[in-house]
């Protein structure tokens, strides 16, 4: 698959503070690529470097297989950190400036304002906008000229729940159109709903990157339930079950993790019955991105990279 963005060994220092350390990954064309991490992990720094707002100390990156340039950024719609517009100009006049920089005329402004529901306030000064309106204007700015690549840094900041849902749906719609979307977010639940790939950062280091299903697949588990009297017998039986990587007690159930990532519920049920254990609960559970993220960031060690 072609890579829209290739990042190789990016390192960035702010004085003595290391914000990024040898970060490398590829963003496939047509993907919705989530960049996740706690506050201070380097997400915004990473996006700032690839948009030429910040200078990396080491490493390189390339857009569309070519060295970085302003011409390439004209083909990218980007919302980085905060909405940045001229406070003394209206929303529409600000978009005219953006369109001019991108080499377009003003013909697309009506469409993008309609998409973010700001048509009614297009002639109001930016300084009079609420936080949510400013964020929506920034999203509209990204959509000008219908770019093939979009970069969003916390796009739902300041939006109400309706706005968050609309933004999520808009991202899905854009992804269906074949656009490549690079999305940095804290909202793991939102990321999990839309992203096809993820990269997880912590303290400037890449913990994991790859297809979101591959990142999470090995962490699926089976949840087993049995009467309290039979719990010990179940644990004993599971110790002899082939392929088991880990067994965990979790409240009323027992979670079983398999090393090869392949779980057959029928086989597990038959095995337990043959061992004299009758199950009252058997369920395949998909590991959530949030729980994976919490595990990775609290372990504080790189788990691996899957591409």
């Amino acid at each position: 698959m072609n890579s829209i963005l290739s990042i190789r060994s990016l390192t960035k220092f702010y004085g003595r503070i290391r914000a990024l350390h040898q970060v490398s990954f590829e963003v496939p064309a047509g993907s919705v690529f989530g960049v996740l991490g706690p506050n201070g992990s380097g997400k915004t720094t990473l996006l700032g470097v690839v948009m030429d707002v910040l200078r990396a100390n080491e490493g390189t990156y390339s857009w569309f297989g070519e060295p970085p340039s302003g011409k390439q950024r004209q083909k990218i719609g980007c919302l980085l950190e905060t909405p940045n517009f001229y406070h003394y100009l209206s929303g529409e006049r600000n978009l005219r400036i953006v369109a001019a920089i991108k080499g377009h005329g003003p013909e697309d402004i009506d469409r993008v304002l309609e998409m973010v529901k700001l048509s009614d306030r297009r002639h109001s000064l930016f300084s009079t906008y609420s936080l949510g309106m400013k964020q929506r204007l920034a999203i509209a700015s990204c959509l000008l000229g219908d770019p093939s690549v979009l970069v969003f840094d916390e796009p739902t900041n300041g939006l109400d729940p309706v706005g968050i849902a609309e933004t999520r749906e808009m991202i899905r719609h854009l992804a269906r159109e074949g656009k490549t979307i690079l999305l940095a977010s804290h909202l793991l639940d939102e990321v999990e709903k839309v992203c096809t790939h993820v990269a997880i950062l912590q303290k400037g280091q890449l913990l994991m990157a790859g297809d979101v299903n591959e990142v999470l697949a090995s962490e699926d588990f089976i949840e087993l339930g049995v009467d309290p009297a039979g719990r010990d017998a179940l644990r004993s039986a599971l110790s002899g079950l082939p392929g088991v990587k880990q067994v965990r007690d979790h409240e009323q159930h027992i979670q079983v993790f398999f090393g090869n990532g392949v779980m057959n519920l029928t086989e597990v049920n038959r095995y337990c019955f043959e061992k004299g254990v009758t199950l009252n609960h058997l369920q395949l559970c998909k590991r959530s991105l949030e729980s994976k993220f919490m595990e990775l960031t609290q372990e504080k060690k790189p788990v691996g990279k899957k591409n």
Partner: protein, 258 residues
Amino acid sequence: MKVKNYRTFWILLGITAVSIPGINYMLYNLMDNSFPKNHGKSILGTPFGFPDIWQTASWNAGMLFLIPAILIITLTTNEFTYKTHRQNIIDGWSRQQFIGVKLIEILILSVFTTLILVLTALAFGYLGNKVPEGISVWSESRFVFFYFVQMLSYSLIAFVLSILIKRAGLAMGLFFIYLIAEQITVGVLRNVQHLTAVDYLPEEVTDRLIPQPYAKGIIQQTNVADWEHHIPIYLMVAAVYILAYCLLTGRYFLKNDL
């Protein structure tokens, strides 16, 4: 597009445009009413007549550099305040384009104020006085070019401070303090210590291109030949400073985080 609908810009530009003829009018009245006349002619001579009007108007206008400097500082620091300098780069400008546009804005402003000066000088020259016989209207109009160099230099000093400091109030304050500090330094080192190297400080070297015009009728200017001899050197040093300002701001903007 950035300034077309920015009221502050038009107000400051208007003040800049009005202040040049304004200060000339004020000083014309002051000189005309304050000094004794001899057979209807001022003892100061005809500083507001041709050919001296070019020097007079240029020197008068040179007292007002603070106004266009405020305009430049406001426009430049706005970009940092609103972080639109980052957004312009994100949207597709190169860093060279951004800084290049800013330098062109300063060039255009300098040309604009110089044109205002030309019109002002012509108006005063024609309205108040007859053109002396045998003297061209454009004689001594080289002072207009000297004013342009001076205006460009002062504007770029304001621009450098804006790029480095990024805060309007602080940049304006430092610009004002620098103007005074250099004048004091020149005064002390030249007149007390007799150190002539101070003639080549950034502000002073362009100020020396346009000597004070009002004393010609009273005091014989024995140093005219010396001044004429130094003009090419002053222009060369000013050009070096102007180039240095451009390179400094360019390099700073190209190399650093935004």
